[in-house]
């Protein structure tokens, strides 16, 4: 392992990276940085170029243009083997040898990484994914969720500086998906840099420090809350027991309230710049107007709202 070298700069630096297959653009002018210990989400619809990006950074595919460094090494043909020693990739389908047992699968990969303490590493990886008691089971007998966990154990064997997880919960039931989320949380605690591609937005919101939204090109990058604030104005939602007789008098006079609208009877949405300042003002105004207030809360836009907004904008722009 060459962790000390890898930790001198960002774990991943990608600049103007483009991959074309003939006339088809897989991804274009992609750029981002990922810091050490960060969980970075790579979101996008099917065909957006997520898996091709992972394969490129995993040295399986050569980019058409652009530059990148992975785990501190420049992404150039001569560095392929050195990069692959420092990283791990868990593809969407775990690709296990089904006739071999779990331990035999891991032993093969421990050999491919030339690990010196193979038995201990295998035991540790199995423990990390709670599969110690299934070590001697043939992989063909495992459920899809368990196979995914074996794939994750395999990816942890070499103690990677950067771990690429390509749709790790694809096709899993909610319970199995939650188990994988817990494993990723655990890896985050251990300081592993994780590059997570997914189109499960709740998953990205829950797990990722920052996300990039990709649709062939990067549409936006930031923390989920940053993206929300960048795209959507902040709002307060006020519910009263009965509709206000004159809501304009109640809401319009406050400098902290930029605008308001009636969403449905007795539900008002106020556009505000600072909810923490506006909320007390609005409550006071409602009390003064003798309104029976049921709730007042800041509206939360999910990452899904951000994603749909950006991807829809991109689709519309491409049709124009």
């Amino acid at each position: 392992m060459t962790t000390s070298v890898a930790q001198q700069g960002p774990a991943l630096v990608v600049e103007h990276l483009t991959k074309r297959f003939g006339d088809r653009v897989a991804y274009e002018d992609v750029g981002f940085e990922v810091g050490h210990g960060e969980v970075f989400g790579f979101l996008g619809p099917n065909g957006a170029g997520k898996t091709t990006t992972v394969r490129t950074l995993g040295t399986l595919i050569a980019p058409t243009s652009g530059t990148a460094s992975v785990a501190g090494l420049a992404l150039i043909p001569g560095n392929g083997q050195a990069i692959r020693e420092r990283i791990s990739v868990m593809p969407e389908a775990p690709g296990l040898y089904l006739r071999l047992t779990v331990a035999e699968n891991l032993a093969c990969f421990a050999g491919l990484y030339e690990l010196s303490d193979q038995a201990a590493r295998i035991a540790a990886a199995l423990k990390a994914v709670n599969l110690t008691d299934r070590a001697d089971d043939p992989c063909r007998t495992l459920s899809k969720g368990l196979r995914q966990r074996v794939g994750l154990a395999r990816a942890l064997l070499n103690d990677p500086s950067v771990l690429f997880l390509d749709e790790p919960t694809s096709g899993l039931d909610p319970v199995a998906a939650r188990e994988v989320h817990e494993l990723i949380d655990d890896l985050r605690q251990r300081g592993v840099t994780i590059f997570l591609t997914t189109h499960r937005l709740a998953e990205a919101e829950r797990l990722c420090d920052r996300v990039a939204i990709l649709n062939t090109t990067v549409l936006s990058i930031g923390r989920p809350d940053e993206l929300r604030n960048r795209l959507f104005k902040r709002t307060l939602t006020v519910r009263t027991r009965v509709p206000l007789t004159n809501p304009d008098d109640v809401f319009a006079g406050h400098p902290s309230v930029e605008a308001w609208r009636l969403e449905r009877p007795a539900v008002y949405v106020l556009t505000v710049s600072h909810p923490e300042v506006a909320a007390p003002d609005v409550v006071r105004a409602l009390v003064a107007a003798s309104a029976d207030v049921l709730t007042i809360a800041e509206s939360q836009h999910s990452l899904e709202d951000v994603y749909l907004e950006l991807v829809d904008e991109d689709v519309e722009a491409s049709h124009r």
């Binding site: 399986l60 093969c108 491919l112 990484y113």
Partner: protein, 369 residues
């Protein structure tokens, strides 16, 4: 170039474990040798004491040739499965993401096939010798146990296996279909047996020097085979099915429907019809073909499909391709209103299919009808 013994060992161990639990492999590796020992043993045991020396040599030659078929045929199918099989099962990508080098991966695969092949081949030869020593006439025993025969078997067994293995793996790295790869691998394993046959039948006088010369030749070919296959082993192509920066099948584009002459006057267009129908309905080179007219892709064509497009009167070229495999470039002139028919199909006989690996424009037949 240094290779990592640990990584090669990991591949070999994995493969051997996998073989042991794979019924198909066990059947292939056990039934073929059993079949190939029955005929030679019968040949040897039915030789009478009065047989002439020429006839004796001939029958022993045939028997020993059977012994050499085992190392040539047994590994061919397994070697041809080695890469394309992993690709089909989805197990190739996780391996290629590890630090293993192409040369190490291929050597591991080759050794995993070679070891059981040698074990089986020598075991069967041992059984053959034992049967001869126990049950054959003294003259037959003396002829079979002749030094040159034993040397031929001992030397050629690993070398023929090496040839079959590298040819099989080469086919496997370039194939997208396990069955086709295995059939081709078996076929391609046979040519070196020609020399062995000539020696066994005493057409070439068996001698130590001849055996050593041919063995050295095969050894060089085996060594070069490893390097050549490593060069052919393209990670990007294996993962994506495309060569790096090669044009790919683009979404079908509407062919131009109205043609305009250089003077701006609308002109009656010509019609180009491409029909894809294999001889006897068989195609060894399958998959969708891209149709390129005048250097521009106009879409793709699948088997039993017909594609029709309009062309401006004048000089044109037509070519089909599937990745690196192409048809010949057909150049033609067409007048307004003319209808041109072309028929195409993927290579449908083995020799053409094999030749297209070296000469890619033999892969797709394209003829004007």
């Amino acid at each position: 170039m240094s290779v990592g013994a640990i990584r090669i060992g990991a591949i070999v161990r994995k493969e051997l474990r996998d073989y042991r639990r794979n019924r198909f492999v066990i059947l292939t590796m056990s039934i073929t040798p059993i079949i190939f020992i029955i005929a030679p043993v019968i040949q040897i045991l039915t030789i009478s004491a009065a047989t002439t020396s020429t006839r004796l040599d001939q029958r022993i030659g045939i028997s020993l040739l059977y012994m050499l078929l085992i190392p040539a045929i047994v590994p061919a199918s397994l070697a041809a499965y080695s890469v394309v099989g992993e690709r089909e099962q989805g197990t190739l990508e996780p391996v290629l993401i590890t630090p293993i080098r192409s040369e190490e991966f291929l050597l591991g695969k080759a050794l995993a096939v070679l070891l059981p092949t040698l074990g089986i081949s020598y075991a069967i030869f041992g059984i053959f010798l034992a049967c001869t020593a126990l049950f054959a006439h003294a003259a037959v025993v003396s002829a079979v146990f002749e030094g040159s025969h034993l040397l031929t078997q001992l030397l050629f067994t690993p070398l023929l296996a090496g040839w079959s293995i590298w040819v099989g793996i080469a086919i496997s790295t370039r194939s997208s279909d396990v069955r086709v790869a295995q059939q081709l691998g078996t076929l391609a394993s046979l040519p070196p047996l020609g020399i062995a046959a000539l020696v066994s039948f005493n057409v070439l006088t068996p001698s130590l020097w001849l055996a050593l010369a041919v063995a050295a030749g095969l050894l060089i070919v085996d060594g070069l085979g490893w390097r050549a296959v490593a060069v052919m082993f393209d990670r990007e192509r294996l993962i994506t099915g495309r060569r790096p920066d090669q044009p790919t099948t683009v979404p079908d584009r509407a062919a131009p429907t109205q043609d305009v002459s250089h003077t701006g006057e609308p002109q009656m267009s010509a019609t180009l019809i491409v029909r894809r129908e294999g001889k006897f309905g068989i195609e060894l080179r399958r998959g969708r073909f891209d149709i390129t007219v005048d250097g521009t892709s106009i879409g793709g064509i699948d088997n039993h499909e017909t594609v029709e497009t309009n062309l401006e009167p004048g000089h044109h070229s037509l070519r089909l391709n599937s990745g690196r495999y192409t048809s010949r470039n057909r150049v033609f002139d067409v007048a307004g209103g003319e209808v041109l028919n072309f028929r195409c199909h993927g290579a449908s006989i083995w020799p053409t299919y094999v030749a297209s690996i070296v000469k890619p424009d033999l892969a797709i037949a394209l003829k004007r009808t």
